[in-house]
Assembly symmetry: C2
């Protein structure tokens, strides 16, 4: 079992509706030793393949993406959730992302000047379930003409279809913890 899996078992909480709360070390309070490990582990798994930028989505993807960009010493770009005021401009890539947690959809944007066909992008996010956020970032890279080096996910819900779909589409997807099963009694089974 790796450091993240151990942390999930020790400090994660399961709420009804297959919700895994990891807000005491990943997406509200953030454990910096764990982020250091996560950044290093993504670098080990994706290796030296010419990554020029790390891309994530505000807000909870930012801490693991910062440490990954830090280890690679490349810029981080974080896609923004659009506010009504900045949708009219022509200088943005944009993608629609459906949120199952909040039951709505939102547009994410990246300024065109920060992604180009010269870029080789590593996409990082904290969670992968149905894959909506990752697909939004993939779509933004497609609009930019940027190459996608891979997708690095901290926690994948393996019992939801997002990961499988991205792998089948040919992306190099690395999830540091894949949960194949969890229940309200607190049982969590990780994929070997």
């Amino acid at each position: 079992m790796n450091k993240l899996e151990e942390k999930i078992l020790a400090d994660g909480r399961i709420l009804p509706g297959e919700i895994l709360k990891v807000d005491n070390f990943l997406n509200h309070q953030v454990d910096m030793e764990l982020m250091d490990w996560i950044g290093g582990e993504f670098k080990r798994r994706f290796g030296d393949c010419g990554i020029t930028k790390v891309l994530t989505l505000e807000a909870s993807g930012i801490p693991p993406a910062v440490l990954t960009a830090y280890k690679y010493n490349v810029p981080l770009v974080f896609a923004k959730k659009a506010k009504s005021g900045n949708l009219g401009t022509q200088d943005l890539y944009r993608a629609l992302v459906k949120s199952y947690t909040y039951g709505n959809s939102f547009t994410v944007t990246v300024a065109k000047r920060y992604l180009s066909p010269e870029d080789k992008v590593l996409i990082i996010d904290d969670f992968l379930a149905k894959g909506e956020a990752s697909r939004g970032m993939v779509e933004i890279c497609r609009q930019a003409g940027a190459e996608i080096a891979g997708i690095g996910i901290c926690i994948e819900k393996g019992f939801q279809p997002g990961g499988e779909q991205l792998r089948e589409a040919g992306y190099h997807l690395e999830s540091l913890a894949i949960i194949d099963e969890m229940d309200d009694q607190g049982t969590i089974r990780f994929r070997e």
Copy 2:
């Protein structure tokens, strides 16, 4: 002139209305060497004063706060902008923050379990102008009974009143770049 001031002069853009765009190295695309310097510089300025947590506000405060927490090896807590769905719960500290950029107000929240009277908190943010975001984080620390070690700001607009008010209120405020004057012709004057 320090690294951040040099970067502002080299890569910042001034838009009408005294808006300084630093989205190519600070709050959209993020320069990791600069974040490394910022984290180290905050640690040098605030020193070893028993800080237990770094607190910031999503989303653009997170990258400099991550590197600061990383240098101190303490947890980062990022306050969240409230969504309507999570306002009813009793387990949140909350503060109202007025945004002059977007002309509205929003509520920021921190789960009560992540700040307590045992904590000594370093507040970090990317910008300080009228001081609304910083005051929101100060208010959350007050509700938690946590001690405030200081407030670390990347860029302070010295011609707006937020910094002066926080200093007069007795907070240890360190701003890495204080802009005393800027104009649409691209002139920026930093405080010595």
